[in-house]
Symmetry: C2
Subunit: 155 residues, 2 copies
């Protein structure tokens, strides 16, 4: 996992939320490299797999209330509780962000899998020393925090 | 999502658990095609993305106590609580199963992303009408139930 892979994901998230949700997220604190152990995550987790010149996965995680705001802005409709629109819209936003980041990593010829969205309580992920997760803490000034999390190995 | 994609995943799961864990899982009830709506899932969720001639994702989900038995058998070591071995071993088993299924789907030239493993409570996934999930209920006669869940679209 190279540090130069970070900016394409940050830029892709900023551009996507600006154009799709009319809101501008910002970096919120230091990058964290999770080399081993459990990682507590927000309630709403989107996962999309990457293949091509890398093998990896990208996650976008946020609390439900933040996700409902973001997806509501995307769909231009208020979301009051976790529903079909929330799950589909969240997966679609992640798909757009990962696609925009992949386009910036053009030398790597990244292909995207289908996004999967999970909600639950007290969720934890796990990082392996061999495939560390790079956590990029971000926030929407209006709504709250979220993370973009990337794990990639070159193949 | 074609129905003929089911058997490669079932066969891959059976072969993998037989050779890696010395246990023989069996199909446990009818396939379910989830075309829309929320799907309750077991506590332990492994996700791996697929690309190539398809775009998709494969999940393996089971309760923690079943996962601890299965991964313990894989590692030939008892697992008494959710730990690093459980998460890494579960991801690795899913990786082997998805790889074996991909090999059987050779015309589709499937590439695998990195597996991601999440644990939590009251977890739900969501199916879209455009990308339904096919749930394959299975069980280990000794330990209990689990699901293999596949969503793929041809590209």
């Amino acid at each position: 996992m190279k540090i130069e892979y970070v900016n394409p994901f940050v830029e892709a998230a900023v551009t996507t939320f600006k154009s799709m949700c009319r809101v501008e997220p910002v970096r919120d604190g230091k990058l964290e490299l999770r080399e081993a152990g459990f990682i507590n995550t927000y309630e709403l987790i989107g996962v999309i797999g990457l293949t091509g010149g890398v093998k990896g996965a990208v996650l976008m995680t946020m609390d439900l209330n933040v996700g409902m705001k973001a997806v509501g802005a995307f769909l231009m409709d208020e979301i009051k509780e976790p529903n079909t629109d929330l799950m589909d819209g969240f997966g679609e936003l992640l798909n757009i962000i990962a696609g925009a980041a992949a386009a910036k990593l053009e030398g790597l010829h990244v292909s995207l899998a289908l996004p999967t969205v999970v909600i639950g309580q007290n969720q934890q992920m796990h990082a392996k020393q061999s495939n560390p997760w790079l956590l990029i803490p971000m926030k929407f000034p209006e709504w709250g925090k979220f993370n973009i999390e990337v794990s990639m190995e070159e193949v």
